[in-house]
Amino acid sequence: MASIEFVKVSKYFDRQPVIQDLDLKIEDGTFTVLVGPSGCGKTTLLRMIAGIDPQTSGTVLIDGKDVTRIAPGKRGVAMVFQNYAIYPTMSVRENIEFGLVNNKVPKAERTRLVETIGETVGLADYLDRKPSTLSGGQRQRVALARAMVKNPSVFLMDEPLSNLDAKLRVQMRIELIELHKKLGTTFVYVTHDQVEAMSMADTIVLMNKGVIQQEAPPEVVYRKPSNLFAAQFIGVPPMNIAPLGEDRSTFGFRPENAVLAAEPGSFHFSAKGEIATREMLGSETIYQVKTGDGRSFMVKCPDDIFHVDQEVYLGVPADKLFFFGADGNRIEERDARYLDFLERLRGQSHG
């Protein structure tokens, strides 16, 4: 049980800043997902919590205590590494047990713990095997068991599912959510997969280039993205963005919120165009619509009734439109400019 707090934390690698003056509070017991494109500093952040690559300046607090001078092994955190980092020379049992031995847990207690955890993660029959004889999924479970057995107050996970196949990934995702519910400890989970982020997180911390873009529950990130980056990072296909007038402000809408029709409709934003491409995905179909003035929009439809080169009318209701100022930040409904932007867009509509 512990909260984590970053206060004015900076991290430099060879004088190269990766993270600068970052403030972040992770609440006790939450499942927080750090998400962002490759190289944005997610792993760096996680390693600072663990203490294996401490911050250059600023403080990291765990449960309100400054842990700058506390060794990784004494912070009460456990970590599942991106590449698992299992000890290859030790058997599965020894791998899981290693932390307990170092913490001087008595032998009987240790054996009991290892067997229970082995049972939980489904490795009971593999305890005396060497890691080299295990499959990728099983190794991932060893890494997980090794972290769980220490009963840490903070669980750090660095893309633990990225090496698994799609099916196993979905299964492990559910197991991790259940694990979090059962343990109730603080989970900090790193991924660059937005589906993982959306499905698992209590709170998403969205990062880009070492800067936090938005920190909110998944549905808020989806419905009220704080800026262009957040809007385009979450959602597949990403949000359609198009310029709005001369001042570099933009508007956008999600592919799933646009409506396609053969006849013109009465939407706040509408445009006439032609279907350029069509991707049939089973339950839904994704069209790319090219408008007369050369813009293209992605549209996700539940039904598959249009064909390529067909002329269509694209429409978006007013409440599904997003507006972004020249600085890239979203303009909220209560903002004075909101109505002005809505009006501007009506003027732009074609058809």
Binding site: R47, A50, G51, I52, A71, P72, G73, K74, V77, A78, M79, F81, N83, A85, I86, Y87, P88, T89, M90, F98, G99, N102, N103, S132, R146, K150
Partner: protein, 292 residues
């Protein structure tokens, strides 16, 4: 079609033929001839006067004190060189593995002796170890320690040769171990840090097992090499004083003109001892070695 199939069958043998010819010519034939010679009372001047004596040479060897003395010297030498070299190169390697400013210089420096001829090295150490004018005794006196007779006393001669051999070998083996250490993924050490492992525990439970294949290799290579030591002895002591540094190969060398059959039989025994040792190593240690 048929021709092609025959060629397919022959091809592997044709391809390894050159290598096999070399091995046969320079390994199998000499070994066979060695064993053949060991069964004769061989006459160098007149081959026809050579006499087949069966195992006579062997019974003679096993009944003579100087053979056991040479075997004992060789064993002590081997144990000393192997243990000291392995410990010291491990120590150096662990130290060099840390990223320091001088480490590449030290690494190059420590490797240099391996490049220099062992004869030159022996000669230099011969001067260094000279009891009256040598540098070593001078230094010993400076720090207030009693001087040593080094190569001139039967008590310290073997130790002196061990020192020279270790000094020469260390760089090479350090380099092998450094390479092994650098192949260990750093994230394993990070995981160990999170598992609250002490430095000693990390070394003992993670580093050592991870480099065990290389250590095992070094152990076997060095044991075999040390059992065959010759040049250092030849240059520095000539087996003396009082046979204190006569090793097996030097012992064999002593009979090179006087008794070829006897020398050959000793060579066969040396081969047997090395074979036995290697076998024992594999039986005792192979399970402890971790292969990826």
């Amino acid at each position: 079609m048929d021709k092609k199939r025959i060629w397919e069958g022959f091809r592997p043998y044709v391809l390894i033929a050159p290598a096999m010819a070399g091995i046969f010519l320079f390994v199998m034939y000499p070994v066979g001839y060695l064993i053949y010679l060991s069964l004769f009372k061989y006459n160098l001047l007149n081959k026809d006067k050579s006499r087949f004596v069966g195992l006579d040479n062997f019974t003679q060897i096993l009944g003579r004190g100087d053979f056991y003395k040479a075997l004992w010297n060789t064993t002590i030498y081997t144990a000393g060189v192997v243990v000291l070299t392995m410990l010291l190169s491990l120590l150096f390697a662990v130290w060099l593995n840390k990223k320091g400013r001088f480490n590449s210089i030290v690494q190059a420096g420590i490797f240099t002796p391996h490049v220099v001829s062992i004869v030159s090295i022996s000669l230099v150490w011969l001067w260094l170890m000279e009891p009256n004018q040598g540098l070593l005794n001078y230094v010993l006196k400076l720090v207030g320690l009693p001087p040593s007779d080094w190569l001139q006393s039967s008590k310290t001669a073997l130790m002196s040769i061990i020192i020279v051999s270790v000094w020469q070998a260390i760089g090479y083996y350090t380099l092998i171990i450094v390479a092994a250490l650098q192949s260990i993924s750093p994230s394993i050490y990070e995981a160990a840090a999170l598992d609250n492992a002490s430095k000693f525990k990390v070394f003992y439970k993670i580093t050592l097992p991870m480099i065990s294949p290389q250590l095992f290799f070094i152990l076997i290579i060095m044991t075999i090499g040390s059992f065959k030591v010759f040049d250092t002895v030849q240059v520095m002591t000539g087996g003396g004083p009082n046979n204190a540094t006569t090793t097996l190969v030097y012992y064999i060398y002593g009979f090179r003109t006087t008794n070829i059959g006897y020398a050959s039989a000793t060579g066969v025994l040396l081969m047997a001892v090395i074979g036995l040792l290697t076998f024992v190593y594999f039986r005792l240690l192979a399970k402890k070695v971790h292969y990826q």
